[in-house]
């Protein structure tokens, strides 16, 4: 396949940045999107140009590191996949592809397509855990039975990879889907109930401080989420928050 790429180039956080056009040829439909960028970068380096920086690591759809905005969609046109699992067979010979970084105030650009998502970590520091000593002197695991349906639902929430596509695709740059998933995982498990009040209050407070926008129920996040995290999680978080606020 022969393609035209329009890629956001930005030297650093202070640079203004612009879209730069690159033609690319001989792309196989079996390549992943990131392998296509590898080919582009190899060509740029060989010509003496600077390669395009982008974040990636596992290339298996699980680490949440890759984060491209492709033709106006987080992780590109396929559904339920991350950018590293997006394959070039989704595109046609002659296509023009626009590649940009995830955009949100809380995710400043570091360089080219790389953004800083550490705001997500800080929300977790504020309460994304169960306060249990790591000494191993806990009770036997089977002494905490969990209803299979609850365990499965908690697992579904826990599969969020922290990629930030929900934020990038939300017109308000809201982080509600991500935070909702975190809050839900613990809210659904007996172990997590004890600290539920503080957890949701602290995490929501941190989320607001990080500069994420509000949720206006547009649902774009759910559509773009590569892990199928559902809006249910936001509803559950809102219920938890309401409960906590009434208590607090």
């Amino acid at each position: 396949m022969n393609l035209t790429l329009k890629i956001w180039r930005q030297k650093n956080a202070n640079d203004k940045g612009k879209l730069v056009e690159y033609p690319i040829s001989d792309i196989s439909p079996d390549m992943s999107f990131l392998e296509m960028l590898d080919v582009l970068n190899e060509g740029l380096i060989n010509k003496g140009d600077e390669p395009v920086e982008f974040d990636h690591d596992c290339r298996e759809g699980i680490c949440g590191m890759c984060s491209l905005y492709i033709n106006g969609e987080a992780h590109g046109p396929d559904r339920g996949v991350t950018t590293c699992q997006l394959h070039m067979r989704m595109f046609k010979d002659g296509d023009t592809i626009v590649i940009e970084p995830f955009r949100a105030t809380a995710f400043p650009v570091i360089k080219d397509l790389v953004v800083d998502r550490s705001a997500f970590d800080r929300i977790q520091h504020a309460g994304g855990f169960i306060s249990v000593n790591t000494s191993g002197n806990t009770i036997d695991a089977n002494a905490i039975p969990v209803n299979k349906h609850d365990a499965d639902t908690a697992f579904d929430s826990a599969t969020c990879i922290g990629c930030g596509a929900c934020v990038a695709s939300c017109k308000n740059s809201s982080a509600m889907l991500f935070v909702g998933a975190k809050v839900s995982q613990f809210a659904l498990l007996p172990q997590g109930k004890i600290e539920a009040t503080d957890r949701v209050l602290n995490m929501v407070k941190q989320m607001d401080e990080e500069g994420f926008g509000n949720c206006t129920n547009t649902g774009a996040c759910e559509v773009e989420c590569p892990k199928g995290i559902s809006l249910e999680n936001i509803a559950r978080m809102n219920r938890e928050y309401l409960k906590a606020s009434l208590k607090g």
């Binding site: 380096i45 759809g61 309460g127 249990v132």
Partner: protein, 665 residues
């Protein structure tokens, strides 16, 4: 220096308890006076950093990803072993110990493995308390499955994403400590050297990957939880950033490197599709619980399949060769990874590979669909003879168990695995070699520790499935936090370690010199160009099958390639900015040294054990031939060029297990 493994005396089952009772403790008030650096935030490093902080030490944790949560451990799919015997199928600490030592071809240390089995049950309790959502039975209790190489169901799992859930558990414990201010987290930081002051590890040199700044960090002890080096092969199932730099730099500063040639090749990966390939994708081996592996019996069918004239589903049962079931009736499709990998390669080398490149075998779920479907039809009172219905019901069961893997396969290969059997081929997956450590997980450099995949200690020549996660968490939560106290007890009066010493100056200078060289070099080829060439040498000559002649030439070729790299690599951009090519170049430079030591180690090991098969040493049936005189750990001391490394041997003594020829027939 003589190797002292510091294995405690006394009966195997009491060693760990007695040891814990006799090692020095640090008073909680004094722990506040002690700093520990933990490099790596995977299962090993993440759990260690959280636990050390919990105990009261001041911890600085480092990882090169943008968040601790993204360490490579996140990718582990299948599960984690623990001798809980919840299924009542006869499991016990001893059996887990036995399976692990046997699975490792009697090339691991008895005392370490026993301790691992002993603390395994505790890991599950800990993780559940932290909210790890393991799979559950309808009654609310934990569910288990079985993995290759064992006959009991002791593997705990969270769908096909166990590593993710365990890592998020460790990450949440870490977050709690970061929130409390006990851990200072340095993400997007790469450790580039260890600093040794007066013979003790006292700090590291790290590069801030965003600004390029070179930083000095001091501590009373340094812990490396930096993962494995499978990427020396370029193509592997490891994440792209996984590297050997931390371990290699530690080696150059005096830590012995053990068994570098022990590589695990995983049997169930998605086959290579072309030259553009950047990494290989693993399909969890739990699939072997339900999938049957086969190739056609007749060459004519192989050709017809390759030519697209015949579909695998059209081939009669009698025309298929279920070679694992044929060769190993007792374990069948559940033989250990090395056996399954080698058997697949043997069939493909003999010309029975089923994809275009001839490097793939089938993993077929058709019988599982029918088996589960019948059960479901029976339970639901439906017609068990309605084939279409049974198949559909069965597919739903399989989808529940492995749905995400099937989906992943379809995305990558563009074929529906519910309709046509999957194609798989072995790939480099895990490295059993690593930094040599004693029973306390301390390296040959005092104050420098290595945990998880970065050390060598528990898996021998082959790692059984679901045991790496177990080892990472055992080391991090339950072993290191005890043993490191013994060392740190002497440091309560030391005070903060200054970073303005000659040792820090020297380490920083060597890091800067390397970087400068790479930046101004302006050669003609990219870093990947060299990495790929190294990978080819490694796979062809140091891969699944090895022989003396190839290994000798590999040593020479790698040394030449390394020279060429330093003369001719091109690294664009500067040091003072985000520069992924520079980060990669520094990692590949270290792979180019490790690769040579790897080949040297393999050459010396004149036997076949685990994943490494020396062609000269095989039985008449083509099975691995182990030799008793190689029942040792090779620990290499750095002496300049890797080919000049000096060998030290740690003899492996088996007092509690009879060393037998490993057989899965």
């Amino acid at each position: 220096m003589a190797l002292d493994s510091k294995i405690p005396k006394g009966p195997l089952k009491d060693k760990w308890t007695n040891h814990k009772n006799s090692i020095n403790l640090v008073n909680p008030a004094n722990k506040r006076l002690i700093d520990v650096i933990v490099v790596g935030t995977g299962l090993a490093g993440g759990s260690a950093a959280a636990t050390l902080a919990e105990l009261g030490y001041n911890v600085k944790a480092f990882c090169f990803q943008d968040s601790a949560r993204r360490a490579h451990s996140i990718a582990a799919q299948g599960g984690i072993n623990a001798a809980k015997n919840y299924q009542g199928d006869g499991d016990s600490t001893y059996r887990l110990f036995y399976d692990t030592v046997k699975g490792g071809d009697y090339r691991s240390r008895e005392a370490n493995v026993y301790r691992l089995a002993e603390v395994s049950a505790n890991i599950i309790d800990q993780c559940v308390a932290q909210g790890v959502p393991f799979a559950r039975e309808y009654g609310g209790l934990l569910d288990n499955r079985s993995f290759g190489g064992v006959l009991v169901s002791r593997t705990f799992y969270a769908a096909g994403q166990t590593g993710q859930q365990l890592l998020l558990g460790a990450y949440s414990a870490l977050n709690r400590q970061i929130g409390r201010g006990k851990v200072k987290m340095y993400s997007r930081h790469e450790m580039l050297d260890v600093v040794v002051v007066d013979g003790k590890a006292r700090g590291i040199i790290a590069r801030n990957l965003v600004t390029g700044e070179i930083e000095r960090h001091s501590a009373h002890a340094v812990v490396l939880g930096t993962g494995g080096y499978g990427n020396v092969f370029f193509l592997s199932t490891n994440a792209m950033g996984s590297n050997v730099t931390a371990a290699w730099k530690a080696h150059k500063r005096g830590a012995y490197f053990a068994n570098p040639c022990y590589t695990q090749i995983h049997p169930t990966c998605i086959p290579v599709s072309g030259d553009h390939q950047s990494k290989l994708t693993l399909m969890s081996e739990s699939l072997r619980n339900d999938g049957r592996i086969w190739v056609p019996k007749h060459k004519k069918d192989v050709e017809a399949i390759r030519a697209g004239k015949l579909k695998p589903t059209q081939l009669e049962e009698a025309d298929r060769d279920y070679y694992l079931e044929r060769r190993y009736p007792a374990f069948g499709n559940l033989v250990p990874r090395d056996v399954a990998s080698r058997a697949a390669k043997e069939r493909c080398d003999a010309g029975y590979g089923v994809n275009a490149t001839g490097e793939a075998v089938y993993l077929d779920f058709a019988s599982a669909f029918m088996r589960y479907g019948k059960e479901q039809a029976h339970v639901k009172g439906l017609d068990e003879n309605d084939e279409a219905l049974v198949k559909k019901l069965g597919q739903e069961v399989v989808k529940n168990k492995y749905g995400n893997l099937f989906q992943m396969y379809e995305k990558i290969v563009d074929q529906n695995p519910y309709e046509s059997p999957m194609m798989i081929y072995p790939a480099v997956h895990y490295t059993m070699g690593g930094i040599w450590v004693d029973y306390n997980l301390q390296t040959t450099v005092p104050g420098l520790y290595a945990i998880g995949e970065a050390n060598f200690s528990d898996h021998g020549a082959n790692r059984l499935g679901a045991s790496a996660l177990m080892q990472g968490l055992a080391d991090g939560y339950f072993v290191l936090p005890y043993t490191i106290g013994d060392y740190l007890a002497d440091d309560i009066r030391t005070g903060p370690i200054p970073t303005n010493s000659a040792a820090f100056d020297e380490a920083e200078k060597s890091v800067r010199d390397n970087i400068e060289h790479l930046i101004i070099n302006n050669g003609t080829h990219s870093v990947d160009h060299f990495h790929k060439r190294l990978g080819k040498i490694m796979w062809n000559k140091c891969g699944m099958a090895r022989n003396a002649e190839d290994l000798k030439s590999a040593i020479v070729e790698i040394a030449e390639l390394r020279k060429e790299f330093w003369k001719d690599v091109r690294v664009p951009g500067t040091n003072e900015e985000f520069n992924e090519e520079l980060a990669k170049a520094l990692r590949v430079a270290d792979f180019l040294e490790l690769g040579e030591l790897f080949a040297k180690d393999a050459l010396l090991r004149e036997e076949s054990a685990g994943g490494h098969f020396r062609e000269e040493y095989q039985t008449e049936e083509g099975e691995a031939q182990r030799r008793k005189e190689f029942q040792y750990v090779s620990a290499w001391e750095y002496k300049g060029e890797p080919k000049d490394a000096l060998l030290h041997k740690e003899d492996l003594v088996f007092e509690n297990i009879e060393v037998k020829e490993r057989s899965y027939k």
